[in-house]
Amino acid sequence: MRLEDLRECVQKGLDSVKQEKTEIEVFASWNELITMRLNYTSDIPSGGLQEPKSSQFSGIAVSSAFSDRGKTSLGFGSQANELRPRGVMEAFRKAKRGRFYDPDFRSLPSPAGSPTLVDYHDPAILDISDKEAVDLGWKALEGALRAFQEAGIKESIIVGGDVCILKELVAIKSTTGIDTFDVSTILTVAITTMVEKEGVKGTGWATSTKLAGFDPALAGREAALSAIRTIGGKRLPPGRYEVVFGSQPITDMMANVIAPSLSLTTVNASNTPFLGKLGQRVTAPNLSIYDDGSLPGQIGSKKVTCEGLPTGRTDLVQEGNLVGFLANHYLGRKFSSNVATFVPRNGFRFHGLGRTYEMQAGVFPTNLVLEGRPEATTEELFRGIKEGVYIGRIWYTYPINGLAAGDFTSTVIGDSFLIKDGQISTPLKPNAVRINDNINRVLQNIVSVGREKKAIQVWSAEEAVIAPEIRVEGVRLDSISAGTA
């Protein structure tokens, strides 16, 4: 698919359905997600690169605001895999048939500023061949297996994970003046390894927007070395501990508990722990959180949102105070007033496989960045911890009693250690500790925030979290699975 064809489709399509007293927005997208999924088990016959696969998605979405006898009716229609003006006409017909009066609807988006991130995709990714894609998957596996070989480990090995290549093309044009397009390319590798008889698990990640320098073998190697490092892990008695969370646990908590709470979607539903707390202290004063979809080189970055508006920085928490929420155009207009405005920088149509024509724009994070003031070196982060825990990877993190209550739980599945006298010491046995705490308390009990940050994407999330390591006091850890772990 060529971008020029997509742009011509929205241009000619809009021309063919334009009519008086009707606002119309035409969105066209073409995506391809290529996934190289690994599965190698040294003790069970296995395929290595288990699933070299891809899915394409393309189609048209039309949003229309019809003026009917003094009221404005809203309509939405989509047409799959028909990137031609007749696809736009069919989607428009559906929008017209299904139109309704929504009292919260104000208008379709209008132009607002210029994008700062332009021409940031990699043509080499758009043109990647099947053989090159397959090679990337096998390289990740080989990287992990070479590291195990060097350590003399031949049995009880598991290597899983994937290399993903996402290509996204969108074009948007509306009667309200939006006329834009976007091309993005994303590469991710996430590898998990185990030496199962030792009960250890390690992980390695990398993300990039460019093919050059993207090295899946390195992520495989990192995953294997991480597993090897945690051989001989110990269990932990239950209690409250001083914990240094690594970048992955911070990402998991952000993606599943904190970011959803910082969205106007959950404000709209009265279902966030931050309801009514705009302007108030919600975290320790040494933490700031913002979302920025215009950061160069980050995989959550886009030129424009799926509403055709420029991406950019939205401050959410500034030195502990709640200062904003993520917004799309619809909810931004609904909730803006003379005391608070919400700039719509996060209206995206994500559907698990990139930007999709199938839905209207919801609210999604892009690149969530956590910063400290001041920021600590790794040594400073650990300094003074007499007995604590470094948690490097958690799993199945959920707001167990609903978002608004703030309670969350999660299990520690690898990459973790005990801390003694300010130093990493004995590995922590994987799958033997459950975190049971409340996110409000964790955020208030932050002691320090690390300087080093890593961009990580968790399973099935669209956003990247640019996450530091964070030290928190008094985290409740429970001992689990003594009989089976």
Binding site: L49, D135, G137, I158, P399, N438
Partner: protein, 519 residues
């Protein structure tokens, strides 16, 4: 024909698909290929607080191809998928699109086979893909419904959704938010393989997901999400579903419960296990997480290690829990796609007839749900448990209607025998350990039981336990099994969200309470 790009359109596609399968047979070193072509036709609407939010009519068609190809010692999988449009579903255009897809999948398989060969010294467990043999089938399965979803307009769906959220929002002054997403539609899928299997299956689906939020004063808001639906037409909305309730009555009941809970105390947690009686709605999710997932063969064979985790039931092929006691002798569990429920179908996504699989028999582990590939590795018969969310996704081993079998106790008797304990009602959110060996799961409501009576209602509570410990502690099983819908089981990469049926009768066992110690 009213809608020429409805599910009838697939009728004209069959000859093109047959040609494409013939083409796959002709490719050098291609040992196997299958093609799935599907079309989904739905009307969807959503409403919040009585106001309309979404009204859509959608038709989506897509195909997925799987190929096994390469040199005999290193045969490998290759896959490809893409959507189809109206023009492509007719005749020659389809054949051309499918052939291109087969070529892409084949090239990936060949490239992967070469790399497998090169890495065999470093990775001696690398093996050619083997599928357990199955009988060749030709069959047509017709969708069952009373009120055809295609005859329901989007405006009717929207109107129903608006009425439900308007009334749900009005049940109490404490109600802050009522949202409903509702859909009705038909799906048809064709499956053809190079082995000669040729299937044409269709089903209807009508469902709704509800979110209600209530708040008393400035207290922490109470929210609840639940789902209702069936493999049927619009009649499901009026009460022809497993709850035997109209969607409206279902929503009003959930809204009233949530409003009541907004004023309840939070459950205190316990450090030691206590007696808990868990009811069928709660057990639906419990069975899903601690019996269903660990008995999926792909997970047991470590294929999901990087995503949804492994299974504590199988460490190695020669070191596992088969034939061993993993639950109380009162517990028998099975998975059965022939039962009514969200896991109901005749053939799976590999063309294998779905059949009942005994997972646990009187506490002893007996079987796994499997695919043809995992069945070959485990030297078992394929049992037809492979499904994909849509044809453009790769099939995975999935639960069907996976349940704990009915016991012989009256649920009221199970409760009345408890001197001191807790009654755990309606599932909410699960958090499960990596190999499903431990769980923490929240409930919508928890009641204190004192001398066989429910005395006090709590919110924000649930239970936690090691899975084996909880299953072994069961000392009573009720006679009230129902198969309830779980609409959103996530698995795979990219994640696929799948409908499954789960259920469990009232159970009595021991677990720690989770609640207020976390606040």
């Amino acid at each position: 024909m009213k809608n020429i790009f409805g599910i009838e359109a697939l009728e004209g596609a069959k000859s093109g698909i047959r040609e494409a399968i013939d083409y796959a047979r002709s490719l050098k070193d291609c040992r196997y290929a299958d093609l799935r072509v599907g079309l989904v036709e739905t009307r969807t609407a959503s409403s919040e607080n009585g106001n309309p939010k979404i009204a859509r009519e959608d038709v989506h068609s897509s195909f997925g191809v799987r190929v096994i190809a390469g040199s005999p010692q290193t045969e490998a999988w290759g896959y490809y998928a893409q959507p189809l449009n109206k023009a492509e579903l007719g005749g020659r255009a389809l054949w051309k699109t499918l052939r291109q897809g087969i070529d892409r999948a084949y090239q990936r398989a060949i490239a992967s086979s070469h790399r497998k060969q090169a890495l065999r010294e470093l990775a001696p467990a690398l093996s050619p893909v083997r599928l357990a043999p199955v009988e060749v089938r030709k069959d047509t399965v017709t969708a069952r419904f009373e009120e055809d979803p295609r005859q329901i307009s989007t405006k009717e769906v929207l109107s129903e959704a608006m009425n439900i959220t308007r009334q749900a929002k009005s049940v109490s002054p404490e109600m802050r938010f009522a949202f409903l997403m509702m859909a009705t539609g038909l799906t048809r899928e064709l499956f053809l393989s190079t082995e000669g299997t040729e299937l044409d299956q269709a089903y209807a689906l009508t469902n709704a997901t509800l979110l209600v939020v209530a708040q008393k004063g400035s207290a922490i808001p109470e929210s609840f999400i639940d789902h209702i639906g069936s493999h049927g037409g619009w009649e499901a909305v009026r009460g022809k579903n497993v709850y035997n309730k109209s969607f409206l009555d279902f929503a009003l009941e959930r809204a009233r419960d949530t409003a009541e809970l907004a004023g309840a105390e939070f459950l205190p947690s316990t450090e030691e296990p206590v007696t808990v009686v868990t009811e069928p709605h709660f057990n639906t999710l419990l069975v899903h997480e601690i019996i269903g997932h660990p008995t999926e063969a792909d997970r047991a064979l470590k294929m999901e290690t990087a995503y949804a985790g492994r299974s504590w039931l199988l460490r190695r092929l020669d070191d596992n829990e088969f034939g061993k006691q993993v639950a109380s002798p009162l517990i028998t569990a099975f998975s059965d796609p022939t039962l009514e429920g969200y896991g109901n179908y005749k053939y799976d996504a590999e063309g294998v007839p779905g059949r009942r699989v005994t997972l646990i028999e009187k506490g002893i582990l007996r079987g796994f749900m499997n695919s043809r590939e995992t069945a070959a590795i485990l030297a078992q018969e394929p049992n037809g448990s492979m499904r994909a969310t849509a044809c453009h996704y790769v099939p995975l081993v999935r639960m069907t209607n996976t349940v704990i079998a009915q016991g012989d106790r009256n649920p009221q008797d199970i409760l009345s025998e408890v001197e001191e304990g807790y009654y755990v009602v309606n599932h909410r959110i699960p958090s499960i350990s990596e190999s499903r060996e431990n769980f923490r799961m929240s409930a919508q409501k928890v009641y204190k039981i004192e001398n066989g009576r429910l005395t006090r209602l709590y919110r924000g509570g649930g239970i936690t336990s090691d899975s084996r410990e909880f299953l072994m502690s069961i000392d009573a099983v009720g006679n009230d099994l129902v198969v309830l819908p779980i609409p959103n089981c996530g698995k795979g990469q990219p994640m696929q969200v799948m409908r499954v049926g789960n259920g469990g009768p009232t159970l009595r066992g021991k677990a720690r309470l989770t609640g207020e110690y976390t606040r």
